[in-house]
Subunit: 433 residues, 2 copies
Amino acid sequence: MQKILNIQLQILKYILRWDLIILPVAVGIGSMVALFLWLLNLAIHYRFAHPWLLYLLPLAGVSIHFLYKMYGSSAERGNNLIIDEIHEPGAGVPKRMAPLILLTTVITHLFGGSAGREGTAVQIGGSIANFFAGLFRMDLAQRQTLLTAGIAAGFGAVFGTPLTGTVFAMEVLTVGRIQYRAFFPCLIAAFLGDATVAAWHVHHTPYHIDVINTAATYYSYHFWFDPVLLLKVMISSVLFGFASILFEKATHSIKQYSLKLIKTAWLIPVLGGCLIILLTLIIGKPDYLSLGVDAEYPGAVTIVSSFHQGGAHFFSWLWKLVYTAITLGTGFKGGEVTPLFYIGSTLGNTLAVLMDAPVSLFAALGFIAVFSGATKTPIACTIMGMELFGPDHAVLFAVACFIAYLCSGSNGIYSAQRKPGGKLSYLQSFRSK
Amino acid sequence: MQKILNIQLQILKYILRWDLIILPVAVGIGSMVALFLWLLNLAIHYRFAHPWLLYLLPLAGVSIHFLYKMYGSSAERGNNLIIDEIHEPGAGVPKRMAPLILLTTVITHLFGGSAGREGTAVQIGGSIANFFAGLFRMDLAQRQTLLTAGIAAGFGAVFGTPLTGTVFAMEVLTVGRIQYRAFFPCLIAAFLGDATVAAWHVHHTPYHIDVINTAATYYSYHFWFDPVLLLKVMISSVLFGFASILFEKATHSIKQYSLKLIKTAWLIPVLGGCLIILLTLIIGKPDYLSLGVDAEYPGAVTIVSSFHQGGAHFFSWLWKLVYTAITLGTGFKGGEVTPLFYIGSTLGNTLAVLMDAPVSLFAALGFIAVFSGATKTPIACTIMGMELFGPDHAVLFAVACFIAYLCSGSNGIYSAQRKPGGKLSYLQSFRSK
């Protein structure tokens, strides 16, 4: 009994200590994420008002290139550097990573590059967490925990989904597994990070799924859950998984081939920028530029519009995929997640129309499932579904996220993720079983 | 590309094959769970109408004892046998486990023993899954997967929470970790099991949390989330964790000491039955007998009543803990989970009154958190919170479940759970950090 009480006291001390440690870290991360979201919004709407800025995109790419060349050092490796630091602490995460990624992401969006936000938020989180770890003179184990909490705070803050941020940080480090070690610091960090953004009066986009009757009657048999709907969800989820492979392969290939074919490094973003301009001239509308959440003009295809019938074109998802792969593959900065949301929700829209299924539900499923396949975080994505769209369709969220995860191949967008035989042995087990 | 398509095809084959395998297994489990829930309800209401049945409880205990002595063999080890079979496949799970546990659980409840349902459902699931594994001539790896899916189907069916059943089955096997290996078969099994129960028109009890304003203003500062409420939740969660230790220790000690002190084995349930009768005569009311979900008379303390102000007494949680520890510690049959829900929700009620907090919210937190501490499944319990009570308080659910898990010591109620350094190294890490 004495021993148990002793352990309890230590746990209480642990909880209180981490609360105090996380408080300044998370408020710092949340504030910087709020600043980022505010600037990003300004940049996006400034470009809406001045569409000619797109023609400066190649120039913007060159400036990003030289900013990283001059100040970047290891910061260029972004999210992968942070994941590596958590697995095998080394030189640490440079302080300058936070302002650099913030600035270059805003530049990318100001001139119309197609990118996201989560990479930026995660890097802000990791960089600030690493700074505080030095300040508090932490040992390696504590530094790992604080870096993980930094990811949670950044992710939770940027999307307004604290629980998803918590689970994402624990789940993204290793494929096929989730460990609870850092849960408590992560939760507090994500929660405080999100609260800090709210305190700065920066708001998130709300999404809604229409009310759907998931019960069904066939030949006078009543099903509590429509089996045909479930089948449609499963087929779509396989395709969501394929879309995340395609995204990963496209980004990776563009990066590799451009490095191989173009010897003058700063010409790569110039070419990337020119390609984006060319594509936009060919399509004749700017829908697939930048973030894709707010509409540049009434009727533009955005994530929000894809939740409604007719809110996306048949190949919107492919266009966004190409735009983003070019933008990120040629050295522009930003996250992958919001484009993944866009690709998923527009693909969901297309599939819903093809299969005569509820549009808003399938847009929501694509939103989380393509992301799940690309980052290998099916539990975080299921929880994100519940946090963003409510729990009514939790079972379908889980089905979509796990099938997409299974069908997304063995490489995600973060090459630093560890794969402890998990994913591989999983694939092998399909053969033996 | 060829290679990727090849893998995708194998995955599709895997999904289709498991769908076909799971279908009869889950419908079988769901039907037997439905029969169990129907009989249980009959037994409970029959005792309500004939309260004198309680005096036959010692006799019921003797009959359960001899039933297991004659037909039981290894089935007596219950849930632990199934967990062991999944980790190290051996002699298999006996077919007779399902009818035996069903019959003896109904006997326990008919005569007023305080026990639950999930153990019964999980054993029905494991036993039927093992039967089908033999029928399909499965190899060891497939048998493990099907047994895990059997747990998911049983759990999902008995509480009407398929997603919780899925995650519970993956999470309960090993402390401090969750692996995705069996996810797909588990999900399909839990989902079909639950649907089968619904198809038999057996319904589950709905619970509601009152609408609560979790924002707060202090000294003219507005908090998106009330920090005082969060603090109250954290303090309560530590106590929920303590309650689950107390439950585990009490049940374990009663089992051990009665085996040591009473040499004639069939006298143990007689003594247990007599103690329950004595306690009930002392308290003067039957509130802590049996399941504790339906009310025996208007104003009885039940799980449902504990969601309302005044719906539980100060020590209701302790009484239920003592009743259940005696019932299960002296050889009566049934699960632990519904009593854990009862202990948690009444303790939550008491703490809410003490700390001037929202009663229904704290009853819900106790409901899931004591269970989380006792079974070491914080993610499943967080998801159960969302499935049963809606997602509004998901963050608080996660906080409560993980803190209770952290504060619940290193032993859960299932001694067969593996502890791969996870929990232990966790506790050690509190010291070093």
